[in-house]
């Protein structure tokens, strides 16, 4: 799987990310590192514990990471979830569902990207 395909699959912004990271190799390396990023699990844990502040922080971080990596598909729900949580409202409902789905897509694509490598 090429990096371009990877971004196509997850609905990411290949061109913009390439312009910032300057090489596909670097894009791939960072994309693979996303697997270990704890923001999503932090967010889920905080939502489970009903800790609005922590959930907001985690969502905000996740949003930032997605933006940085050009994972636009994941960035969009993360942005919405962040804005809901910003007001202290834990009722993230459908946006969180979308976020979960997109996260699943991104993670399986990341795994595929890793496997195609080895």
């Amino acid at each position: 799987m090429t990096v371009r395909e990877f971004y196509d699959v997850i609905g990411g912004n290949y061109a913009d990310t390439l312009s910032r990271f300057l090489s596909e190799e670097r894009m791939k390396r960072f994309a693979l590192k996303f697997e270990a990023d704890p923001s999503f699990s932090d967010l889920c844990a905080a939502l489970e514990a009903k800790d609005a502040d922590e959930a907001f922080r985690a969502a905000h971080t996740l949003k930032g990471v997605c933006q940085n990596l050009g994972f636009d598909c994941l960035y969009r729900p993360a942005f919405r979830v962040t804005e809901i949580l910003r007001s202290g409202d834990l009722n993230v409902g459908a946006d969180m569902d979308e976020l979960r789905t997109c996260y699943g897509v991104v993670m399986s694509a990341v795994r595929a990207l890793r496997e195609s490598d080895s």
């Binding site: 910032r20 300057l22 960072f30 590192k33 930032g64 990596l69």
Partner: protein
């Protein structure tokens, strides 16, 4: 008849009015008369009171006047010897009397006026002289010339005897001043002066003089004359009045009310005697109430009455009007209700063919509501027994004749229509049998709970019945179809479980063998390989089953989006090429006449279709065989819909005609010695067929055992026109392109495709010709910018040609190798020969453009990177970023720009790292805003407030995704110098650094 009715009703309505109006009129007249009498009475009382007062006042005034005159007489010194006006009388000045005359016993009248004394003899024998000489003091009326007007009027005089030495020697006459008298008794009623007369009546007079004197004291106007009370009365009336006045005098009553009828109306008058001796002073005051005032008053009161009456009449009229309106509305509603009822009846009549009224008590029937018996079997009214016989005779079925007929007897109907049942319904076939009828027996009347009168309503229900029967048939069919589907499902399930069990058994069997052969490595290897293969097969089978069930349950939907044909081919190639390669088969991809490269469709599903067909082709084609896939434009419809034909052909083992019939059925695989070894789920073609159907396309297969198979898939896809404006070529400064391929068709095809993209290209059919063309272009100073070379050519091959051309063109042009084959093994050699890149056949403009831009960008990036490094080179950043990954990215980006950095994972740590750092270590701080422990604003403030030597100077840039004006303002307010929007790119960072450096 109707008209008369209305007239009566009209009369009924107006009768009250006709009665009421005269009553009102009579009452009104009575009211007026009463009013008039009341006014007259009131005025009478009023005038009586006034007249009495006048009489009383007149009496008192006259008494005073008499007393005064008597005093004067007592003081008067008369010279009896000398018959003259008493001397001392000349000095008397009376407020009451105008002047005082003296009459001597010698019958001479002496008058003193204005200093002169006048004497004249007394004529006749006036009453006052006789009475005076007899020592009586009294009052009399005298006709006197008015001092003002000159007309003669009667005035009052008082007389009294004058004595001298105890003997009566004369009489004094006091003449009243007119003004004085009048002022005393001036009375007005409502500004109308009233007439006051003073009469001296001699009712017993010897000479029958009824009225001796009349004095008009006050006249309401000049026309009032002094005339007899009786002047305008008839003889009878005069007599009556006279008697009344006599009675009044004799009984000394208070007064007498009397109404005179005058031309101005009734004049109320009152007679009152002046108190005193009526024999001596029979003076009578007559005071009248002005007729004009009475008339005015009655007019006012009557007007009020009239208003009242009119008001009454008006309210009555209003009441009648209201009643009329109510009546009208009610009437209208009634008409509407009636009409509604008519609608219902009409509608019912349409529903039912016959209405028959049946009296159960006397056993008769009658057709009603304009319905009549059919034919002439029965009369329209008669005995119920006849009707019943007719109905029963009309039944088609003997069963009905017996069973239903028994229910139509009168006792049976009465029994059935018990207290809880109001309606009976029976259905039966009649006549020829095709007609169905419904008979409803509806209870109309009951006596003691037993039905006495009923209505038979008959309805033709043939159509309804037919539908009912039809739907029964349809239900049966649907049930049968459901059963079939169910059976198919169980067949499918049993097939599926059979197919699953086979590889499953293999897995279980080999794993059991594996257990036994743990000590034999070569066996372990073999078994585990077989387990793996079976597992893979099982997985594929399950995936297909899932797909199949999705398709069957309609859950699969097409995900339409724009895709390019080149991507589609590329993906197919990447999957199929390795499989084909493993079997040493040649795989050829071709396109024909494609005008568009972009279409809207479900790429994934199209891919699945082609992959299914192609993998079958690979499977059922022996090693070394040929497989070809082509995409061909075969026509177009409106709205940019193109017919695209995908053809996959192989020279494999082919299929029998029998199998071709069931090729798309699930779990069908041709069983023969050749296919025995080949693994498959048997669902692939079923899925393929379903997907093609889903897309509205067609699939066709032609095959011959031992010769090969050709699948043709036709799809209609919407083309996306990307109007190419040729900007691309200008952007990359490409003016000339050369194509080199030994197949002229390919060259022409490529040139044509480029022409669509607004680019003209030349072509050569071998390396030598290409060399010449390039040489010429260089010589003409119009060198080719891009050259596309086929890899496999007779004579000079692609790489060799490239090497030749590169020598002529130098570094400026881009050389591409176009090939249908794997280029890995020559990649190195080609690069050395000066080839910039490779492109897979078939040629696509989009792929071509991508390749060009990739190569050009690679070149410019390399150039840019070296130029960029300068700004950030050698800088040392402190980056506050709580996310590890973002931190790493930032670090690496900074590093490739020749900068270094430390990462702080929150605001607190950033402050600590900064304050503990030696002065001048960090050139700049990049501050994330949202951080745990301490956020970016707080951290900035803490840094600015610290005692570090660079605390105030070190540039701090905020990094935030929220680039709202407010956030920027807040960042600057907390002490930051710049704001960098996330995600941070080197360009933005560089610009920010340059900006800060410039500010310094």
């Amino acid at each position: 008849m109707k008209k008369k009715k209305i007239n009566i009703r009209f009369l009924q309505r107006f009768l009250p009015a006709l009665i009421v109006v005269p009553i009102v009129a009579v009452f009104f007249a009575m009211f007026m008369i009463n009013n008039y009498n009341r006014v007259i009475n009131q005025n009478g009382e009023y005038v009586a009171e006034t007249a009495k007062q006048t009489a009383s006042r007149l009496s008192s005034e006259l008494n005073t006047a008499a007393a005064t005159l008597m005093n004067v007489a007592a003081l008067c010194e008369v010279d009896a010897a000398n018959d003259s006006y008493p001397e001392n009388l000349k000095n008397v000045n009376s407020a009451i009397y105008e002047n005082i005359d003296y009459v001597s016993e010698n019958r001479r009248i002496f008058r003193y006026s204005g200093g002169e004394e006048v004497a004249e003899p007394l004529t006749g024998n006036p009453e006052y002289f006789e009475n005076g000489m007899n020592n009586i003091t009294g009052v009399y009326a005298e006709l006197r010339k008015d001092t003002l007007g000159g007309s003669q009027t009667r005035v009052l005089n008082v007389y009294t005897p004058v004595k001298s030495d105890g003997r009566t020697v004369g009489v004094l006459i006091g003449r009243f001043s007119e003004a004085k008298l009048r002022s005393l008794i001036d009375i007005k009623f409502f500004n109308h002066p009233s007439d006051i007369f003073l009469y001296r009546l001699d009712l017993t007079g010897e000479n029958n003089r009824e009225i001796e004197d009349i004095v008009l004291l006050i006249g309401s106007d000049e026309n009032v004359k002094e005339e007899s009370i009786f002047a305008n009365l008839g003889e009878e009336e005069g007599k009556a009045l006279k008697a009344a006045l006599q009675k009044l005098r004799d009984e000394n009553g208070p007064g007498l009310m009397y109404n005179f009828n005058t031309s101005a109306g009734t004049e109320t008058a009152y007679f009152a005697y002046v108190p005193g001796d009526h024999n001596v002073h029979p003076w009578l005051v007559l005071q009248t109430f002005p007729a004009a005032v009475t008339a005015g008053m009655t007019k006012v009161v009557n007007l009020e009455g009239l208003q009242l009456g009119l008001g009454l009449v008006l309210s009555l009229a209003l009441y009648i009007f209201f009643i009329l309106i109510m009546n009208y509305i009610q009437n209208k509603q009634l008409v509407k209700d009636n009409r509604d009822k008519t609608y219902v009846v009409n509608a019912l009549a349409m529903l039912y063919d016959r209405f028959i009224y049946v009296n159960l008590t006397d056993g008769t029937y009658k057709y009603i509501a304009d319905t009549y018996p059919e034919g002439e079997r029965v009369a329209s009214e008669g005995n119920y027994a006849d009707l019943k016989a007719d109905i029963i005779a009309n039944f088609k079925d003997n069963y009905d004749k017996k069973k239903l007929g028994a229910k139509l007897g009168i006792p049976e109907i009465v029994k059935e229509l018990d207290s809880e049942t109001d309606e009976l319904r029976y259905e039966y076939r009649t006549g020829s049998g095709s007609k169905w009828e419904d008979l409803s027996i509806i209870c109309l009347e009951r006596v003691d709970g037993k039905a006495t009168e009923v209505l038979f309503a008959r309805q033709n229900i043939s159509a309804l019945k037919q539908k009912e029967l039809q739907s029964q048939v349809m239900l049966k069919e649907a049930f049968r179809a459901a059963e079939d589907a169910n059976r198919a499902k169980s067949d499918f399930l049993s097939n599926m479980s059979h197919d699953i069990r086979t590889p499953m058994n293999a897995v279980l069997g080999f794993s059991a063998l594996l257990e036994k052969s743990a000590d034999k490595p070569e066996k372990v290897l073999e078994y585990s390989r077989k387990i793996n293969a079976s597992g893979q097969h099982l997985l594929g089978l399950i995936n297909d089953i899932l797909d199949m069930s999705k398709i069957e349950s309609g859950k699969i939907t097409l995900n339409l989006s724009e895709f390019t044909v080149s991507d589609l081919l590329d993906e197919i190639n990447s999957v199929i090429a390795p499989q084909a390669k493993a079997k040493r088969q040649t795989l050829q991809l071709k396109t024909y006449d494609l005008k568009h490269e972009n279409y809207v469709g479900d790429k994934l599903r199209i891919n699945q279709i082609l992959n299914n067909i192609l993998s079958n082709a690979v499977k059922y084609t022996p090693e070394g065989g040929n497989i070809e896939i082509s995409i061909r434009y075969t026509g177009s419809h409106s709205d940019n819909i193109d017919d695209i034909t995908f053809t996959v052909s192989d020279n494999g083992i082919g299929m029998s005609d029998e199998f071709l019939k069931v090729i798309y059925e699930p779990f069908e695989r041709e069983d023969n010695s050749l296919t025995g070894k080949i693994q498959g789920t048997g669902l692939g073609m079923a899925i393929t067929k379903n997907l093609v159907d889903l897309m509205g396309g067609t699939i066709d297969v032609k095959s011959k055992p031992g010769v090969g198979t050709t699948f043709t898939v036709n799809l209609q896809l919407r083309a996306v026109e990307h109007t190419d404006d040729g900007e691309f070529w200008k952007d990359y400064n490409i003016k000339r392109i050369l194509i080199v391929d030994d197949e002229e068709d390919v060259c022409k095809n490529v040139c044509e495709l480029l022409k669509y993209a607004k680019m003209n290209a030349d072509y050569c059919t071998d390396g030598h010709k290409a060399f010449d063309a390039v040489k010429k272009s260089v010589k003409d100073k119009k060198p080719y910018d891009v050259v596309l070379i086929d890899l496999k050519m007779p004579g000079l091959d692609g790489v060799e040609t490239a090497r030749l051309l590169r020598g002529e063109l130098g570094e400026g042009a881009s050389l591409f190798i176009l090939t249908a084959y794997d280029w890995e093994y020559i990649e190195e050699e080609a690069e050395k020969a000066g080839v910039d890149g490779f492109m897979a056949k078939p040629f696509f403009v989009s792929v071509f453009k991508q390749s060009i831009s990739r190569i050009r960008r690679r070149v410019s990036e390399e150039q840019q990177a070296s130029a960029q490094n300068n700004v950030l080179q050698g800088m040392y950043f402190l980056v506050a970023e709580d996310n590890e990954l973002n931190g790493e990215i930032m670090q690496e980006l900074l590093e490739i720009s020749g900068a270094k950095c430390d990462i702080a994972s929150n605001g607190k740590e950033a402050v600590k790292m900064f304050t503990e750092s030696p002065a001048g270590k960090y050139d700049m701080i990049l501050m994330d805003i949202q951080m745990p422990e301490l956020d970016g604003y707080g951290a900035t403030r803490a840094i600015r407030e610290s005692k570090h030597p660079s605390a105030k100077k070190i540039p701090i840039a905020a990094m935030t995704a929220n680039a709202f004006a407010d956030d920027v303002k807040r960042a600057l307010k907390s002490g930051m110098n710049a704001h960098i929007a996330k995600p941070v790119s080197l360009d933005v960072l560089k610009a920010a650094v340059e900006n800060i450096k410039l500010k310094k």
